[in-house]
Symmetry: C2
Subunit: 200 residues, 2 copies
DNA sequence: ACCTGAACACCGTTCAAGT
DNA sequence: ACCTGAACACCGTTCAAGT
């Protein structure tokens, strides 16, 4: 349903429109393997128009991944526990927010972590990918300062948290954490194990 | 370099040849996003020939993923610690074998865990994907029996191990565990955290 | 029983030309 | 400054026809 009438030739802000359209398409079957031509089609422009705003498809994907990391970062920083405010509650809230972000945006999350998509992961993207890790590092430092956590090198522990939570997210996304043999609450079990590895 | 002379028309075992060729192509840039036509080309047959052995590309990929899970399973069961034979050594050896398998076969590993590739992950594939998990479950049961591990629901702890090790593997593959900010030995740190979460 | 060649409906990307 | 249309070199998949 495109209005081809009110934008006779020049699209107001095609760049943003393309990103928005592609972001929406991420929620469909093919994930980030959508077609650039289809994006253009839905944005109401010719299939050549996107090339005036992005050198190629990979560049569009890279920009979208960047956006994704920003959103993940925001999801983690705005995550708050329901009621009490113990360190442990906050930690679990952040972990849950991370997993929720991934499982409710599987297409975007896969894109963010696919070196395959935007061919080479450039420095810019890698830097932005580490912002979420910064949240975890700060959280662990506070936990150690409060004497709740074992005294271990924080960056190493943060890496462990990241890997754990990334693994949970991906396996859930692939449907492998919903299988009987894996047990009833793999997510809770994984987070509990992680906490037992961190706490005093 | 195809011998088109000695196989004038009928290829002896084209099915296997296609799988082998595709498996080899997994190690190239595009990973499992290789082209079916290119597989046929390298196998020395027409681009239509593969369709006599696989209904579509997704079926070929599914078969390859199955093979991958078998190999991963074997890598885990044949993993042995260097010298001593404590439970802990064995656990670490299995974990390391898992990560090594993934990082040295990134194309295959990504394929195994991409619901995107073989469209729907069928029951067959999911079952085979759980064989590696079985190894971990057995390992944890022994550790608990020997009184080394906390008494927790084994399947839950096994899920935690899987997620941890899967996360490590993927983040390493994507190059995110080689970044300075993540620290010097994220892999070791992650495995150490996992062990501290399991052990008494 | 197994393979080929031509064909169909697509892609990503480029580029001269239009507004 | 921004967009289009035709073109190029590809895909995956199908199907009548060949051996």
């Amino acid at each position: 349903m495109q209005d081809t009438t009110d934008r006779p030739y020049h699209h107001g802000d095609l760049r943003r429109a393309l990103i928005d359209t592609a972001m929406a398409m991420l929620h469909e079957d093919k994930g980030w393997q959508f077609t650039l031509r289809e994006v253009a089609r839905r944005a109401g422009v010719s299939h050549a128009a996107p090339y005036k705003h992005f050198p190629d498809k990979a560049s569009l994907l890279a920009e979208m991944a960047l956006l994704g990391f920003d959103r993940l970062h925001k999801a983690m920083t705005t995550a708050k526990p329901n009621r009490p405010h113990s360190w442990r509650d906050e930690f679990l809230a952040v972990g849950q927010a991370y997993v929720d972000f991934g499982t409710s945006n599987p297409g975007l999350y896969r894109l963010m972590f696919s070196a395959e998509a935007g061919n080479a992961r450039d420095v810019h993207l890698s830097e932005r990918a580490l912002a979420p890790l910064g949240v975890v590092i700060a959280l662990l430092e506070r936990g150690q300062a409060e004497g709740l956590l074992r005294q271990r090198v924080v960056r190493g522990r943060a890496a462990a948290c990241w890997a754990q939570v990334h693994g949970i997210t991906m396996l859930t996304m692939e449907g492998l954490f919903q299988l009987e043999k894996v047990g009833p609450n793999p997510l809770d079990a994984a987070l509990a194990t992680l906490l037992e590895g961190l706490e005093n």
